[in-house]
């Protein structure tokens, strides 16, 4: 391994601009003559718009225009779309209600977009918004799943009179019923997967621009996938044809899924730029982010596990109700379906699984993918079930898991997935060793001596990443392919630019992708530039989510590099006057087998461009290659996390004393960056388990809409983490990478809850396990003990 090649903990090349304040985020971009947009949002969860009177506001200082849904309709601008079709059990399509970027006749959640005010300054736009007079006829709201499904509930979309988006299922019901019929023991759990707000630290922002001379629109936006944004804004929303629309996602301050989606605000900014003849800039404040960024999770689940007399899992039956909010966001329908149920088998050999999912409209913000997207929900179901099943049988939870682990690969689960490779026991062994599980009893006694409760919880997670192949996801309803593209441009002096469809918003692609190039081409890291986030530069790309940029994005780069080397051999053959078959490429040099004749990579690049040693008939000049890479399977990162908590029964405060994570991500390019991804994921998972929860009151008001009300994990809420790795290289891509971005957020919540319930001695605790809830649970245990 070289100091900068694959496997080296190279310090990040992108850091210099971030630590010196020279990062360029969307809100840092200012266009000459720009105007500012402010969105007037609905204060009601559900209401008819009777009238919008803008006359007073329009007359205010600095106001340029006030646009509403009527203006969108007049310009024939289409609504926002959901790009994944789900079919009901009876084969009929899901019921997708219209989603205009500015409300047309009705608002459906607090924060819904009613009008946009464009003014010379942001403050003037905000002031004018207060003077827009909207007459609402308020309607009863359904702010949660139960209220929306009640008989006589208010109808949110006419296409779904019962507020049900779809009734979907996966698996073999008859086989599962049969498994339960012969079960010796059945473990049952009711689980709530709490609603979360993603909260990347950079709020969303957009700057729309229109060049009347060329007819080209430009949108600077906080996006994880600028090409997908361009495709949707062009082909579906109808802002401009793709070749007349440039989307730039510059430095983006975190996404976690919430910046995948195509939202109302960027749609309006780019459309309005032409309308007012000025660049239009919008930056979300944090309250707006809470109200209108797509939220995550929000499942209510009943799950049952059937066991035989030896404690082997026979079957799994899961019924989930998923809240999708007031409108279907871009990929919302895929999250509680194909990103969820196919992971319910976990790391276990389960012969029969049946899962039913009802997706529900409510008068709340749209719900879509958030770090892990469906897989954390599935992992919470299976890892809570196995933990409780083991406890009910009086078995050690680690041994119970080990007994039921999949050990033969490939392994076909009953729910779509074919696990290609893994070694689950290896991760469990290493995690138990690192966590010093064998001395847990001693630590528990020590805690008891101080009046504290100590618990240990496992989570043996698996996820499906890359979210490819395209053919497979297409057959499941995806509206797009999930390959990735790369272009490797070698300059005449031998420096290299890689144009990638992946997008980095914290993942460190500029470093890891360059490591791959440096490794393969044998050139120094500083001779490689990674270019991303601009549809005018990069041909096309599907963007970054689903832990896919390593497994899919880098595989595309590797494939393009192979083509560069192949072309380089042809050039070298002419330049060295040898036959192509005799040219070797190693450590950055093309050489003739069995001779001392060789040329450095840069020399061959120059020969390719000056084209003096071959004719145009013999070989095309230049050295630039493109690849579109579509993997052959999903990837299956897996691992074991162990959480150890200490609870103060007097206050209900849970302190995480130790965290051990052992993950199998296959081949790791930069362990420093991968460990950082694990740390961040765990923090978000711990946030879900202990701190975070979005809460709407019964009228549909979001009562957790600021950092004063929604508890973000802070430095003193978390411990340092012990992170280890095992490795079974992924056979489905040329680099052996599985992906690491979501693992921590997937693994962590059940590890925490399993630890808390272990400490408390009963299972009745829901997320977030706040001090109040834990204290109440402690009281419950003590009452129960007293009664016994």
């Amino acid at each position: 391994m070289s100091a900068t090649g694959i496997g080296a903990p190279v310090r990040r090349t992108e850091d210099f601009r971030f630590i010196t304040g020279k990062g360029q985020y969307t809100d840092d971009i200012n266009r000459a003559g720009q105007a500012h947009a402010y969105f007037l949002r609905s204060p009601h969860a559900h209401a008819d718009i009777v009238k919008i009177d803008t006359s007073k506001a329009k007359a205010m200082d600095g106001v340029i225009a006030i646009l509403t849904g009527d203006d969108l309709a007049a310009d024939k601008i289409g609504g926002l779309i959901c790009g994944w079709m789900i079919h009901n059990k009876d084969g009929s399509p899901m019921r997708a209600g219209g989603h205009p970027a500015l409300a047309q006749g009705k608002v459906r959640y607090v924060g819904d977009h009613v009008a946009v005010i464009i003014a010379e300054t942001y403050q003037q736009a905000k002031d004018a918004a207060e003077a827009v007079d909207v007459t609402y006829k308020t309607l009863p709201a359904a702010a949660d799943i139960d209220s929306a499904l009640k008989k006589g509930a208010p109808v949110i979309h006419d296409v779904a009179p019962d507020n049900t988006v779809f009734n979907w299922h996966l698996g073999d019901k008859a086989a599962t019923d049969a498994a339960f019929a012969k079960a010796k023991h059945v473990t049952k759990l009711d689980l709530i997967n709490n609603r979360l707000v993603p909260n990347p630290m950079e709020p969303r922002a957009a700057v729309g621009d229109f060049d009347a001379g060329t007819g080209v629109f430009t949108l600077y936006t906080t996006s994880q996938n600028p090409h997908v944004a361009r495709l949707v804004l062009s082909a579906f929303i109808g802002i401009a044809p793709e070749h007349k629309l440039r989307v730039i996602a510059p430095d983006v301050g975190g996404g976690f899924g919430s910046k995948i989606f195509i939202y109302a605000e960027e749609t309006v900014c780019v459309w309005a730029a032409k309308k007012v003849g000025r660049p239009v800039k919008w930056t979300s404040d944090r309250t707006e982010a809470f109200l209108s960024d797509a939220h995550g999770r929000d499942h209510v689940t009943h799950a049952e596990m059937a066991l035989d007399d030896k404690g082997r899992i026979l079957g799994l039956r899961v019924n989930t109700k998923a809240n999708l909010g007031a409108y279907l966001s871009t990929f919302s329908s895929s999250v509680p379906t194909y990103l969820y149920a196919p992971l319910l088998s976990g790391q276990y050999n389960i012969p029969a699984i049946y899962c039913e999912v009802d997706a529900v409209y409510t008068n709340t913000a749209p719900v879509d993918a958030y770090r892990g997207a469906g897989r954390p929900e599935a992992t919470f179901v299976i890892e809570r079930l196995v933990e409780v099943a083991a406890r009910e049988r009086g078995e050690d939870p680690a041994l119970f898991r080990r007994k039921n682990f999949v050990t033969q690969f490939p392994h076909q689960t009953p729910v779509i997935m074919a696990y290609d490779v893994g070694n689950y026991s290896a991760s469990l062994d290493k995690a138990m060793d690192m966590a010093d599980v064998k001395n847990f009893g001693k630590r528990k006694k020590e805690s008891e001596r101080h009046g504290k409760l100590r618990g240990l919880g496992y989570s043996a997670y698996i996820e499906a990443c890359g979210i490819a192949p395209s053919q497979a996801v297409g057959s499941l309803g995806a509206g797009v392919g999930l390959w990735e593209s790369a272009e490797v441009r070698v300059n005449p002096v031998g420096t290299v630019e890689v144009l990638t469809g992946s997008h980095s918003h914290g993942q460190g692609h500029e470093t890891t992708f360059a490591q791959l190039v440096s490794d393969r081409l044998g050139i120094p890291l500083d001779q490689v530039s990674i270019v991303h986030g601009d549809t005018d530069k990069v041909q096309f790309g599907m963007g970054t989510y689903g832990s896919r940029s390593g497994a899919v994005g880098m595989s595309a780069i590797a494939q393009a590099i192979d083509k560069v080397i192949a072309k380089g051999k042809k050039v070298a053959a002419y330049a060295l006057e040898a036959s192509e078959g005799d040219i070797d490429f190693k450590d950055g040099r093309f050489s003739v087998k069995g001779t001392d004749k060789s040329l450095a990579f840069g020399e061959v690049a120059l020969q390719a461009y000056i084209a003096h040693k071959f004719s145009g008939q013999q070989l095309e000049p230049g050295l630039k290659e493109t690849a579109f890479y579509d993997p052959t399977n999903f990837t299956f990162p897996a691992g074991v996390h162990i959480c150890e908590v200490e609870i103060d029964p007097d206050t209900g405060v849970t302190r995480i004393d130790r965290w051990t994570a052992v993950d199998d991500f296959g081949v790791v390019i930069n362990p420093m960056i991968v460990e950082g991804q694990v740390h961040g994921g765990i923090a978000q998972g711990v946030g879900q388990a202990l701190l975070e929860g979005a809460h709407y009151n019964k009228d549909g008001q979001l009562v957790t809409a600021s950092y004063m009300d929604y508890t973000m994990p802070r430095a003193d809420d978390l411990p340092s983490f012990a992170v280890g790795m095992t490795s079974t290289p992924c056979p489905s891509n040329p680099l052996g990478i599985k992906g690491c971005g979501e693992a921590g957020a997937i693994a962590a919540p059940p590890a925490v809850i399993n630890a808390i319930t272990d400490a408390l001695g009963h299972e009745n605790i829901s997320m977030p396990a706040t001090p109040q809830r834990v204290w109440q649970a402690v009281q419950q245990s003590q009452r129960k003990l007293a009664a016994e």
């Binding site: 310090r11 850091d15 010196t20 304040g21 985020y25 809100d27 630290m201 944090r286 961040g680 994990p713």
Partner: protein
């Protein structure tokens, strides 16, 4: 409109501004010092931390006009003579940042912690002192390491200078 004069990163600036202009807006929009970020509207996240007269403050919470005559240092003014500040170096060396959005505020807070608490900082102290800065990417693990290392490097630099 109101007139304000202050020294920002060693340069004297005078401007006529709307009296409700926050220091964060003044820095970002009037001076185009966009390294100072705004991540919330309740003074919780700390992305906007700058130093005013040598002390860390959240620039989204101060009116620019109230700081007439003040000396302000932003992330852009932390490096000197082309050399990164030891705390900036420590964040890079210990991978204390991912998306980079909270980073300027984190680094400015971290320098302030060392100024107040000295170079020997234990993990518990660092975590408590970072309460006012939210990071969504790193889980704080590497930030804590970076602050501890940066604190020691700051002390070493000071000794070397003396």
């Amino acid at each position: 409109m109101a007139s304000v004069t202050m020294t920002v990163n060693g340069k004297t600036v005078t401007a006529t501004i709307d009296p409700r202009t926050l220091l964060s807006s003044f820095l970002r929009e009037h001076l185009r010092l966009t390294g100072t970020h705004v991540g919330c509207d309740t003074s919780q996240c700390g992305a906007c931390v700058v130093h005013v007269d040598g002390r860390a403050i959240k620039s989204c919470t101060a009116l620019a006009v109230s700081l007439d005559g003040a000396h302000v240092t932003t992330i852009e003014g932390l490096a000197s003579d082309g050399h990164l500040h030891p705390m900036q170096e420590a964040f890079r060396e210990h991978h204390g940042l991912q998306c980079g959005f909270c980073t300027p505020g984190m680094i400015m807070s971290a320098v302030d912690i060392v100024n107040r608490k000295g170079a020997m900082l234990d993990e518990h102290t660092i975590r408590e002192e970072l309460e006012g800065n939210i990071c969504r990417c790193t889980g704080y693990h590497n930030i804590v390491k970076a602050v501890a290392a940066g604190a020691q490097a700051m002390a070493a630099t000071k000794v070397a200078a003396e």
